[in-house]
């Protein structure tokens, strides 16, 4: 949690990859921290929300937060992805 806050404080959102129990995966962006420890999550499926860290760790109780992508660098203009 401290490291998430550290990244957010440095203006670097992180990406969380969820491994669903169903077998497939899903990626959300964690873009902010609230004073009570909740996280600001941008989820292409669910929308934009304030969620508890525990809820996110369990991938909304549908799996687990399996991989964290952080220290993300913006893509360079014109660079191939």
């Amino acid at each position: 949690m401290d490291q998430i806050a550290h990244e957010i404080a440095a203006n670097r959102p992180i990406h969380a990859l969820f491994q669903w129990d169903a077998g497939n995966t899903h990626v959300v962006t964690v873009a902010g921290c609230f004073a009570n420890g909740d996280l600001l999550v941008l989820d292409p499926q669910r929308g934009r929300g304030q969620m508890s860290y525990e809820f996110l760790q369990s991938a909304y109780h549908q799996g687990q937060w399996a991989v964290t992508y952080y220290y993300l660098e913006p893509l360079q203009h014109g660079a191939a992805a």
Partner: protein, 218 residues
């Protein structure tokens, strides 16, 4: 519409306090404009996992699993824009709020609730059915001898499943069991990939690559 779960006044009051502490910018703006924020319908969330789809002739109550989560719709200014996820704490008396999010799902759920109000006047119980394999949300009406299901939304389009149609449970299960998912193409991009080992609960567990990279960039 069939029966939604009736929360007691004390539970509604407890949830309202938790929600007020985490009001979204839209809800705060509604309150400033003197538009009351209503804690509207709440549904118990059940999951239908992939292995359950292999026996499509059984009742949903035998195949789906309760998650312990509840989802509630928030309405303000005549619109439904937010979904609240809550859970009863282990002792059973207290509730905790897990998430509140502004979501297109709220609008779809609101539409389906209103549609169902005109279709079904039974006193059967309505639950929220989530099928993680398809990112599918549906309302499940459990009657004494049968199930009915109406689609709310599905992340993966299922052509055989139409919106605003009340499917018998067996037909709904048959459609899902016959649906094939094409494998996703591999992700591209420059995001740091961290070892996909079994996770211990700490999302930064496998951070050695990131640390090396951070060191290089300092």
């Amino acid at each position: 519409m069939a029966q939604r779960h009736k929360f007691s006044k004390s539970v509604r009051a407890a949830l309202a306090v938790l929600i007020a502490k985490r009001a979204t910018p839209a809800a705060r703006a509604a309150r400033r404009a003197n538009h009351p924020v209503h804690l509207a319908e709440g549904f118990e969330v059940w999951h239908l996992l992939e292995k359950a789809l292999k026996t499509p002739n059984a009742r949903l109550s035998k195949l789906a699993q309760p998650t312990g989560d509840w989802q509630h719709l928030l309405r303000h200014g005549g619109k439904a824009t937010e979904i609240v996820s809550s859970r009863r704490e282990s002792g059973g008396r207290k509730w905790k709020l897990q998430a509140i999010f502004t979501s297109p799902l709220a609008k779809r759920l609101d539409h389906v609730i209103k549609w169902l109000d005109h279709q079904d006047d039974s006193d059967a119980l309505v639950r929220l059915l989530v099928v993680p394999k398809f990112g599918l949300h549906a309302l499940w009406i459990e009657e004494e001898h049968s199930d009915k299901v109406v689609l709310i939304e599905s992340t993966r389009p299922i052509l055989a499943l139409k919106p605003d149609v009340l499917y018998p449970g067996s037909q709904f299960l048959k459609i899902l069991s016959e649906e094939k998912i094409a494998p996703m193409p591999p992700l591209k991009g420059n995001a740091l990939k961290i070892s996909r080992q079994k996770h211990s609960g700490d999302p930064f567990e496998h951070d050695h690559l990131a640390r090396e990279r951070m060191g290089r960039n300092r």
